[in-house]
């Protein structure tokens, strides 16, 4: 496996056992302790940025407006608000309800659509 260490496929059984080194297991990557879940998350963030750049290419100017919060926002602001509030929605779900976190993800997406349309 080339991803032996990089993607922390470890379980409790493998604690304190020496592991064979995979192709990507140079110090830098292992030190960062990547998992496929967090890697997916950051790829999603990067994807968001790429989409924002493409969107800006298509419709320059960032479509500024005064939204329902009375704030002057552009597309970038709306993305920031969506991402930050999705963090709070997930944390709130974890703290108050707990299981079935994917519902919080769905709520976040709905909220993001709301933010992009009205804020």
């Amino acid at each position: 496996m080339i991803f032996t260490n990089s993607f922390a496929a470890n379980s409790w059984d493998s604690v304190a056992k020496s592991q064979e080194k995979g192709f990507f297991d140079f110090e830098f990557i292992t030190w960062m302790a990547w998992t496929w879940q967090t890697a997916t998350f950051f790829l999603f963030i990067v994807l968001c940025f790429v989409i924002m750049v493409l969107w800006e290419k298509k419709k320059p100017g960032g479509s500024p407006r005064k939204g329902i919060l009375g704030l002057d926002t552009t597309r970038g602001d709306r993305l920031f608000i969506s991402l930050l509030s999705s963090a709070y929605i997930h944390l709130g779900w974890l703290g108050l309800i707990g299981p079935m976190l994917w519902i919080a993800t769905i709520i976040s997406f709905i909220f993001a659509i709301f933010v992009f349309r009205y804020v």
């Binding site: 260490n5 592991q19 960062m32 002057d72 944390l91 974890l94």
Partner: protein, 288 residues
């Protein structure tokens, strides 16, 4: 006028981006990775999912540290902002007094954080310190190493001593930029001192005060060195503010996963407050 569009300028951003990548983005990504895993060192990590976030969100210890942190920040803002404005209003506006006052005011700002902590530690020691000994001689039962109320009092006093000057200097700059014509007009109208302050000086200081509140909020919300040197978070956990508690968890107990989850929650709070203040400042800009 047509501006030439030249996207090559983005290449000038690369050095900054590399710098930020190494001192902010990569460490932050690592913290996110740690927050979902358990480790015993030796670069071995076990996936734990959202367990640490749940644990932190319902932990009494985090709530207490957050409560102490918010209380501390509110107290020092409530003292430093009015006190800073008051001092700035009463500072001389011309003559030899100006440079003397400005230099005196800047002095505490120039002292390194850990030196401030050490100074106040010695200053407040109940047996040999000037402050501690004097208070005890006056009949107060003062011992900041054993009584949490005294520890709070000393920490707040230290922060007020260290940072009120910043508010003073900013407010003073704001006051000096007011045109004399406003005061003359107020005098003709027979405005009271309070009316002058309320309707001329305060609105004119709004911008600098927003910046002052933001700076004081951020600095006090992330305060670490001074209380660490002064009280070490004690007695007990009485002055263990968020960052002190975080370091205790990460380096003291080596609970890297929970500490990473806690620092992310901490980060979100700071980010939100920054965003709110940024919007307030932008609104001030567009209004003026």
């Amino acid at each position: 006028m047509n501006k030439t569009v030249n996207q090559k300028a983005w290449f000038f951003v690369i050095p900054v981006f590399v710098l930020v990548a190494f001192n902010a983005i990569i460490p932050l990504m690592t913290v996110v990775n740690y927050a979902f895993q358990e480790t015993f060192g030796n670069n071995q990590f076990m996936w734990e999912g959202t367990r640490w976030f749940k644990q932190i969100l319902i932990s009494e210890r985090f709530h207490a540290a957050l409560g102490r942190q918010v209380l501390f920040t509110l107290i020092i803002l409530a003292i430093q902002i009015p006190l800073g404005i008051f001092i700035a209003l009463n500072m001389p506006k011309e003559g030899l007094g100006v440079p003397i006052c400005l230099v005196l005011m800047s002095m505490p700002l120039l002292i390194p954080w850990n030196v401030v902590g050490a100074m106040w530690n010695i200053f407040a020691l109940p047996d040999i310190g000037f402050l501690g000994h004097s208070l005890n001689a006056l009949g107060f039962d003062y011992n900041f190493t054993q009584q949490s109320g005294d520890a709070w009092f000393t920490t707040i006093l230290m922060d007020v001593w260290h940072w009120t000057s910043l508010v003073v200097l900013l407010s003073y700059a704001g006051l000096r930029s007011i045109q004399p014509a406003y005061y003359q007009a107020a005098e003709i109208d027979g405005a009271t001192r309070w009316a002058v302050f309320r309707h001329i000086e305060l609105p004119k200081m709004k911008k600098v005060l927003t910046i002052a509140i933001l700076l004081r909020f951020m600095d006090s919300f992330m305060i670490y060195t001074e209380p660490f040197v002064l009280t070490g978070g004690g007695p007990g956990n009485a002055t263990a503010f968020l960052s002190i508690d975080l370091v205790k968890m990460a380096l003291g107990q080596f609970d890297l996963g929970p500490a990473a989850a806690m620092s992310l929650i901490y980060f979100f709070i700071v980010l939100t407050v920054c965003w709110v203040f940024y919007n307030l400042m932008m609104r001030n800009e567009s209004n003026s």
